[in-house]
Amino acid sequence: MTIADVLLLALGAVAVGAGALVVTSTHLVRSGLYLVISLGAIAGLYLVLGAELVAWVQILVYVGAVVVLLLFAVMLTRAPIGPSPDLDRPIGPSALIGAGVGLGLAALFADAFRWIEFPRGDPGTAERVGEQIFGTWVLPFEVLSILLLSALVGAIVLSRPDIGRQPAPPAEEEVPV
């Protein structure tokens, strides 16, 4: 057990614990805030594993943008502040499927990689990852930018106010969102 192992275990415990709270909490807003803790711990895991740039992008994009978007959606759909009793389905099949997938994958990984000590790789700094992106992976990178543009346009088109409006009463006020 080296220091890296201890750090991995501690951050992993935080990530998995907060993740469990994300999927079991009865407060919508608390669920989003536990997601922040879980994603932050995963960013710490990236740092321990040596992927610096991925860790900072995780903080910037996930914690900074995605969670904020999710919390905006929680507010815009007028979620109740207190606990909501009707968030969940019955626990039986979901616990079965979730535990089956999680334990199955864990057993698979544990069997494939055993308890073998791997040497640390070179740190994935911005310079090295940048060389990779703009060298080997430049075409997927450009395709990704087109995908982002189309997702942007799609989101704007989807949220037009005239979709789904009933044509009959023209004087009816639309619900402000």
Partner: protein, 120 residues
């Protein structure tokens, strides 16, 4: 560094995500569970980037095992997945908000998939 720890953490996170997607009725909470699953996959990619390279050292270079002269592709793929997740969340939330505006609910059970339009 024992990479098994990171892999098992990723497997646990993925299982939690699957559990959340199946269990939650609220569409936003289901999206949060999907984010957990995507993060688990990212963790696997980054860990494989660290471990598989040293495991493959000395192996005669196959094209699929070492597509580039420099290592580090796992991190690049993790970045791509993060970008895809951001796009997915944007479009998904647009759909959820539009559904909320039309029906006043975000429960996944109440989405009518088998009819054209429900008169309100």
């Amino acid at each position: 560094m024992h990479v098994t720890i990171a892999y098992v953490i990723a497997a646990a996170l993925f299982g939690l995500g699957v559990y959340g997607v199946v269990r939650r009725r609220n569409a936003i909470l289901a999206l949060m569970a999907v984010e957990l699953m995507l993060n688990a996959v990212n963790l696997v990619l980054v860990t494989a980037d660290v471990s598989l390279r040293s495991a493959l050292r000395g192996v005669p270079g196959e094209a699929w095992a070492n597509p580039s002269s420099q290592p580090g592709s796992g991190g690049v793929f993790a970045l791509f997945v993060i970008v895809l997740a951001a796009a997915e969340v944007g479009v998904g939330l647009a759909i959820i908000l539009q559904f909320y505006r039309m029906r006043g609910a975000v429960a996944l059970d109440e989405v009518p998939l088998d009819q054209e339009r429900v008169s309100e």
